[in-house]
Symmetry: C2
Subunit: 425 residues, 2 copies
């Protein structure tokens, strides 16, 4: 993609309404645009990163047997009344609206009330269980204070998986597999998530949150630096310095961002909708349920909070919008300018041909220094510079966004080098 | 995918609320589930087809230079007030709701009011034009009567592209390219769409609709069977039998489904938001705009209306959820049953290995006749049957959903044969 044609540009101006590091960097680097508090448009760069995160999430959900569906955002009142959530939490969380015929509607902020009756239609006997379905969809929550950029939005992307089981044991077994799948998601997205015990509600002692330590986090957790045991302060009796109950190490206290959570719901939702199955003896038994949420947009915000410096974003490999920023240094010398451009164009096509299309800064009227600043702000993992100096030294300058070393790589060796860096070979 | 594990099943019961052929078949075949009038959940099969349609649309939009973004569904009142659409069409079309602080919000039913101010931020001079951005997103319209399954929903998927130009000539040039891209989309989705003149609004003589002839269509068009010139009855002075103004042939009248439309908007939206650019002389000039819509969910409904028979759906190749339905015929003879299953499993893995994962009907407790009926209902282009008879004849039975001939294909030749059928080699 030629930067000169890319929709969305970097900006030197710090947005006046940016309330967090991720909001500031994502807006300034041209990834997102704020429409109103807690509501963002994804520009081409931002949508590419968001889609890569969603793809990682999908792959890990498929790996544990999740089947993707897509439920509506527009939902009728009735199922919320059935579970009691029409009034509790009610409008504190829900966006309510009216349809034709004065019909009460709710914008989906979670989908237990929709998925449970749906799954009921397809469950008859124990042979139909377990089943796990998920969706990746935009959700709506009437947050009292939307804040922190992509971390707490009123409209945000969510992957919500729901699993249905014949008994607690089967749920527990799946729950453990989901735990691992979640850790895989975060690892692949460049986040060190800590599985943290949180309030379990009526049906289990604990639910589990995935927390990422950062000074900008909204939550406070107590965690063991040795064995990673952790509890959210909201439920914890521990304090910093207490001995870890698992390994005895002194526990730490830290601010953290919650990037996902999983719950054992038991029969909280299957009971009100009467979801049962017939067991091997033909007897009706209650179906038990779990739910598992990750917000891809929040994950994107968390990545930027953690992987960034004063100059901009530093994308982890798997979620960068493009693998390479290719910078053409303009020259005032006409003949040299032609040679530089020809080299850069050839390199851009060579990379695209092996599935590594670069973000190619082809602008003629922008100084090299400004291009380097933009590359740092945008934060792709690899920067390649085609300049009079690099050509003189026999190639293109290679530099990682995460480091400061540069080296010259011969033009023809670049595609393999990038491929190796991304472990594609 | 093993049918025994697939979420969503065929049903023999005709849904009581199915108001159209597409709703009936898509519900009975297990592609979608109706949550309420005009609002559907996509089950795994349905989501796969919908995603294939979206992918075709994306490829054709990228081919004409469209850049994908994602705008919010939740929008504030202000930009709608700016263009006058807060009250006209107002609540007849818009879902309005209230956010925190009694703030008026609108669910996006189209996005001119959002994209125009957004694009304004990135346009300074003629060098920034033209620019074309699009999104694929769920839209919301408070339809008086939602009906006809996926054809007229209250929540539905939409691809909306918006183009911005320095003058009418440049818009016209892009508009013609968009026309071709649209015809490519329909052709690839198996639809013969007719470019049909419709009301152009204030800024051009005509807009253009893409109409597909079918007895179940809501629109009526006059069209030339020879040169394909057509007008929507809403604006047409023609009647059936009139001479075509382009070629003289007698024009026909037909019911049709509108599957897309494109408009020259001129400065209808750029004027109220003050979107201008500086030309080569530094003078500010108005930006002119076009918009281009295709509803992937409506396209899906139209495909089913047209490509189906009494037994079920007949998917065009490019949009089928799986390339092949592989049917294992169960046997009461234990030894034979093992041999059949081993053959089918081997075939399923062989196809998956070359990127042609089948929908594999592995059920043991379902008769062959019922499996064939399900295959016809689900409608994948190719049906492969592993039965005692086929093995006796030296292979697997090959049959196209669109025909009635069967033939025996040796097991090892199947992946190449399927590959050839899909032109993948």
């Amino acid at each position: 993609m030629r930067y000169s044609r890319l929709f969305g540009r970097t900006s030197k101006t710090v947005p006046s309404d940016a309330d967090s590091r991720n909001a500031r960097l994502l807006v300034q680097a041209g990834y997102v645009d704020q429409l109103m508090s807690g509501v963002y448009t994804y520009l081409p760069l931002g949508l590419r990163s968001l889609n890569r995160i969603k793809q990682v999430v999908r792959e890990e959900m498929e790996a544990i047997g999740g089947q993707e569906i897509l439920m509506p955002a527009l939902t009728p009142r009735e199922p919320w009344a059935t579970t009691g959530r029409w009034n509790d939490p009610g409008p504190e969380v829900m966006f309510r609206l009216k349809g034709r015929g004065d019909k009460d509607l709710v914008l989906g902020w979670t989908h237990e009330e929709i998925v449970t009756p749906l799954v009921k239609r397809f469950i008859r006997s124990y042979k139909d269980l377990p089943v796990a379905v998920y969706q990746v969809q935009d959700k709506f929550r009437n947050e009292p204070r939307a804040k922190s950029g992509l971390l707490r939005g009123r409209e945000f992307s969510m992957k919500d998986l729901y699993s249905f089981h014949r008994n607690q044991e089967d749920l527990d077994e799946f729950y453990e597999r989901a735990k691992t799948a979640y850790l895989n998601v975060y690892r692949r997205c460049g986040l060190d998530a800590i599985v943290t015990e949180a309030s379990g509600g009526a049906f289990s002692e604990y639910s589990h949150e995935y927390q990422v330590l950062t000074e900008n986090g909204e939550d406070i957790i107590y965690y063991c630096p040795k064995c990673q045991y952790a509890q959210n302060r909201e439920i914890s009796g521990y304090r910093a310095g207490d001995a870890c109950p698992k390994c005895g190490e002194a526990m730490g206290e830290g601010k953290a961002i919650e990037v996902g959570n999983i719950f054992r719901l038991g029969t909280r939702f299957t009971d009100p909708f009467g979801v049962t199955y017939s067991d091997e003896t033909g007897k009706q038994q209650p179906v038990v349920m779990g739910c598992y949420g990750i917000g891809p947009s929040r994950v994107m915000g968390a990545i930027v909070e953690i992987h960034s410096d004063d100059r901009g974003i530093i994308w982890p490999k798997q979620v960068a919008p493009y693998p390479v920023q290719l910078v053409l240094v303009p020259s005032k010398d006409g003949e040299e300018a032609v040679r530089l451009r020809e080299t850069a164009e050839k390199l851009a096509s060579g990379l695209a041909a092996v599935g590594l299309e670069p973000l190619y800064d082809d602008r003629e009227d922008v100084r090299a220094g400004e291009k380097f600043a933009d590359a740092d702000l945008i934060g792709l993992p690899v920067r390649l510079v085609v300049s009079p100096k690099s050509l003189g030294a026999g190639g293109v300058e290679w530099k990682l966004r995460s480091g400061s070393d540069t080296e010259i790589v011969p033009i023809d060796a670049v595609p393999d080098r990038v491929s190796d860096f991304y472990n594609l070979t």
